[in-house]
Amino acid sequence: MAWNLDADRPIYLQLMEKIRTDIISGVYQPGDKVPTVRELAAEASVNPNTMQKALTELERIGLLYSQRTSGRFVTEDEEMMKDTRESIAMEQIQSFLKGMKQLGFEKEEILDMIRDMKED
């Protein structure tokens, strides 16, 4: 679980993205308990305040919820998970398309290339 953080973007946003991806990809299952702020901060080598900010934001959008004394947990809301999965996918696709367009590829060409690719 390497936390590759870019230096020119706010860290808390990047932390949010990483945790979100971990949730969607199944590293954290719905209902799982998330490690404490300290543990995550130490793992990511970031300031605990920053990690706290990221986790609070994830709580705010509903991916995580906290129970007063027991800690933070991943949501079990399936709708939420589906929406998030789609959002991440859209973000990836948009970023990919942007890159391809810069290289001069059109949408049709891109779709053909994808279709012709062999399955891994």
Binding site: D8, P10, I11
Partner: protein, 232 residues
């Protein structure tokens, strides 16, 4: 609001040289703050004043409302850039020493960290490598439950693995009541753990901003901003 550290119109002169000019600082608790600036910017002078190793020429600086003195030394834990320990002492003697003079010293924490790094408490400092000596100093300083930690170049001249350990130690030690003031020029290595940065230049504060604010507003890393600011 009560600040952990506050300075008002702090100035320090050496003959005709103004090492610090009109420094107005407000530092709150629960933060990890980077004190950045090239050599000669006044960083060491400011750090010495905070620790009571030097007195201001004019203006004032207070820690927890008090001028640097015996009471502030009880709550400020300082890691200087140099080896400040008696090299003939063995590690356990140093533990005894810190335990004797600092009420907030947590010996078990220190012993745990030393054993994590496989440093024997029977070793003499003299027989250790430079890197190991620095780790011992850091462990002693971070094992205190201080309100303000002042670390001067804590990761300079240390190998990357040790650097990671040191950063993780600083992070792990974090509590909302204390603040860590880190002075360094190895910015890219530490900027991920900073809440705020203070840029010093020619004895004055260029700015004191939050790291997130800089990154989102300027779209740059602190390291990049530093290079730009200090280019001219």
């Amino acid at each position: 609001m009560e600040y952990l550290l506050e300075s008002n119109h702090l100035c320090k002169k050496f003959g005709s040289l103004m090492a610090l000019q009109d420094i107005n600082l407000r530092i709150t608790r629960g933060k990890i703050i980077g004190l950045l600036g090239p050599n000669g910017s006044g960083k060491s002078t400011l750090i010495k004043i905070i620790n009571g190793l030097m007195t201001p020429s004019s203006g004032e600086l207070t820690v927890n409302g008090r001028t640097p003195g015996v009471e502030t030394k009880k709550i400020v834990s300082y890691l200087p850039e140099r080896t400040y320990l008696n090299e003939w002492m063995k590690v356990y003697e140093l533990l005894d020493y810190f335990e004797d003079f600092y009420e907030d010293f947590r010996r078990e924490r220190a012993e745990q960290m030393l054993s994590n790094l496989r440093i024997s408490i029977d070793d003499k400092l003299k027989n250790m490598s430079k890197g190991t000596k620095e780790k011992v100093q850091l462990i002693l300083v971070m094992s205190r439950d201080a309100d303000l930690y002042v670390l001067d170049e804590p990761i300079g001249g240390v190998d990357p693995a040790a650097r990671d350990y040191i950063l993780k130690t600083i992070i792990g030690n974090y509590n909302e009541n204390a603040t860590v003031l880190l002075s360094t020029h190895l910015i890219s290595d530490i900027e991920n753990i900073l809440d705020e940065v203070i840029f010093l230049q020619y004895g004055q504060i260029r700015f004191h901003r939050s790291v997130d604010e800089i990154r989102s507003q300027e779209g740059k890393s602190i390291d990049q901003l530093f290079r730009e600011v200090y280019r001219c």
